[in-house]
């Protein structure tokens, strides 16, 4: 019997890990479809960002109440992984609570602490469910989330509650069995929470208790393995990607816009043609700006997979606030959806085969792109160091430079700058009129 259990566990575990790693490889491949960008300078500053933004959740604390609840859920998630390590070892080795012999009297203290976290996770998730579904905060009722994204968020919260409840049930049954002196159930001493819950189960038979304990154990670990495989399809992937995303976050001032060396060079040659001879010609025709996901940089694509769809960006976006179609959260969700679509295309065909679609237009409209004031509120608010603005600006570059598509007022502004050196149609000679007036 024991050997069957061990075998079943090993099979379930291997299948889960295999499926997960396959999907992870696909995501990695998808991200690397993006343009190259070197983000490895200043490792010291980058590690600092990982500590502050990812571990420390610095941006979350812009809203302290939510930050504390989120911190419980997050800490619970990270720390309970230690517990899961024990479960996995027990599952493979056919042991029961293998860490007791290693940790001794520390063991119940540790499990007790996990139990407190489990309760806090349940509490946090419950409040989050209420906020999402009953209080209906503006950023959660937005139509960006219609359909799958809204259920996704709820599934995650409900799953966490279920997993934690299973964990607590399993421990309570275990504690009761320990009280009865069952040989298989190693004596650990009371756990902080389930130690006091154990009497609730005193009326149950040994068989029922073992059933509850084993059932809790199996469902808990199978749930965790299923959740692991659900992660890559969900906004919940941020629990992993928030870390690399913080490391690769931009270190430049937010106001700075990325330079385009290809255009710089072309204009340089135009202004100083004498340089042309000494310069090697660039290979191929350069693309200006981004039309599809593969034109964006890999960091933009990593951003897309890291987005938690929390909508803090859109809640702060002046365009979104005043009813324009632009929603920076939607920009990120669109980028991810399109990238997943391209990924599926590659899975099916070996390489990307033109599907007649692009991120621009099939997902993101010109109207959305036009409405951005480049105010950086979205970048400022994002707890996961994402820049929706960067994507918006690259798509705008494509519109203007590759398609000459700009509102007529902008076309006028461009030609004014070109001809009058100012965005308005004024004579260059009048530029210092104010000074002449002062000089009189």
């Amino acid at each position: 019997m024991r050997i069957v259990q061990e075998l079943l566990f090993i099979i379930a575990f291997s299948v889960a890990v295999y499926l997960f790693s396959t999907k992870v490889r696909q995501i990695r491949r998808n991200i690397l479809l993006g343009r190259d960008e070197d983000l490895n300078d200043h490792p010291d500053l980058r590690w600092k960002n990982v500590l502050l933004l990812a571990f420390g959740q610095k941006k979350m604390f812009r809203n302290p109440m939510v930050a504390v609840l989120h911190f419980f859920v997050y800490a619970g998630f990270i720390i309970i992984n230690l517990e899961i390590l024990e479960i996995i070892l027990d599952g493979i080795l056919g042991t029961h609570r293998v860490f007791v012999s290693v940790l001794g009297s520390l063991y119940p203290v540790l499990i007790g602490a996990f139990e407190v976290l489990a309760v806090l996770v349940i509490l946090g998730c419950a409040i989050f469910l209420i906020r999402r579904n009953i209080l209906k905060l503006r950023r959660f009722i937005s139509k960006d989330l219609d359909g799958w994204p809204r259920s996704d968020a709820n599934y995650i919260l409900i799953t966490e509650i279920v997993l934690m409840t299973l964990f607590l049930t399993m421990n309570t049954a275990d504690q009761q069995m320990q009280l009865r002196g069952s040989a298989h159930y190693v004596t650990t001493g009371p756990f902080l929470i389930t130690g006091s819950l154990a009497p609730l189960f005193s009326g149950l038979s040994d068989g029922t208790l073992v059933g509850l304990e084993r059932g809790g154990w199996w469902l808990h670990i199978l749930g965790v393995l299923a959740f692991l495989n659900y992660l890559p399809y969900s906004k919940h992937l941020h629990i992993i990607l928030a870390f690399p995303n913080a490391y690769f976050a931009s270190l430049e001032p937010m106001g700075e816009m990325e330079n385009m060396p290809a255009v710089q060079r072309e204009v340089q040659l135009m202004l100083q043609p004498e340089l042309a001879a000494s310069e090697p010609a660039p290979e191929g025709i350069p693309k200006f700006g981004a039309k599809d996901v593969s034109d964006l940089s890999w960091k933009n694509l990593l951003d897309a997979y890291s987005c938690t769809e929390c909508g803090r960006c859109s809640a702060a976006c002046p365009a979104n606030l005043t009813g324009k179609t632009l929603s920076p959260r939607k920009i990120m969700m669109d980028t991810r959806d399109r990238l997943e679509e391209v990924g599926r295309n590659i899975n099916a065909n070996g390489t990307f085969t033109d599907d007649g679609k692009t991120l621009l237009r099939n997902y993101i409209t010109e109207e959305e792109l036009r409405a951005c004031t480049t105010c950086n509120a979205c970048v400022q608010e994002c707890p996961v160091s994402i820049s929706p603005l960067d994507i918006i600006l690259q798509l705008r570059r494509h519109l203007v430079m590759e398609e000459s598509s700009a509102p007529t007022e902008w076309t006028g502004m461009f030609s004014n700058i070109e001809n009058n050196m100012a965005p308005w149609k004024f004579s260059m000679d009048d530029r210092d009129k104010w000074a002449e007036e002062m000089n009189q």
Partner: protein, 259 residues
Amino acid sequence: MQIKTMATYAANGETPEILFWVGCAGSFDQRAQKITKAFATILDKTGVQFAILGKEESCTGDPARRAGNEFIFQMMAQNNIQLLNMYGVKKIVTACPHCFNILKNEYPALGGNYEVIHHTTFLQSLIDEGKIRMKEGGAFKGKKITYHDSCYLGRGNNIYEAPRKVLETLDAELVEMKRCRSKGLCCGAGGAQMFKEEEKGNTRINFERGREAVDTGASVIAANCPFCMTMLTDGVKETGKEDEVKVLDIAELIAMNME
């Protein structure tokens, strides 16, 4: 007062302490010209030796770049950099956060390296050095002033305190809007929006911000950007409070109250 150009200085074989980068709005927009004049007056009164580029100045290329037209931006930027480098410019002060941001952060990649200072920071250093002294019981003593953080100074470049410190010298009561500092709300002009109609929505961004500013009960809205100036002025007009609530640049506020 005699405002000299870089060319004049160069002709005499001299270089001034700073270059005052006026910017297109500050040069051509009638309202913004007043900010330019106020700042020039302060520079003159405090004895800062400065020059302008005058007719040689061109648009920095900011609105073109943000709209997506990198070609026009590069043309403007490379010309400007050639000019600035030719004059050996080291230190630039500007009253426009867009010019400030682009000169400071984006010109270096093209070979233009200068110390660039926004006028609010420069005013603060003049105050700290004791060069600007305020009148006793100035025009704003005891009045309520609210300050609008421009995106390109605040979030864009993390400058939140210097403008507030300058305003403190007015002896006025500084009240904050609900959305301020890093949570500040855009005026609606950035990203080349100044040069086109807004997209369809429920309201305009500047109406939203104007209302928020008026709601503080302040009689003065202090701005640090000529574009915010235009947007906020329209926003205040929309609330019908243009007679009670004035939008003024920090430089204007200081110029009015200097000894």
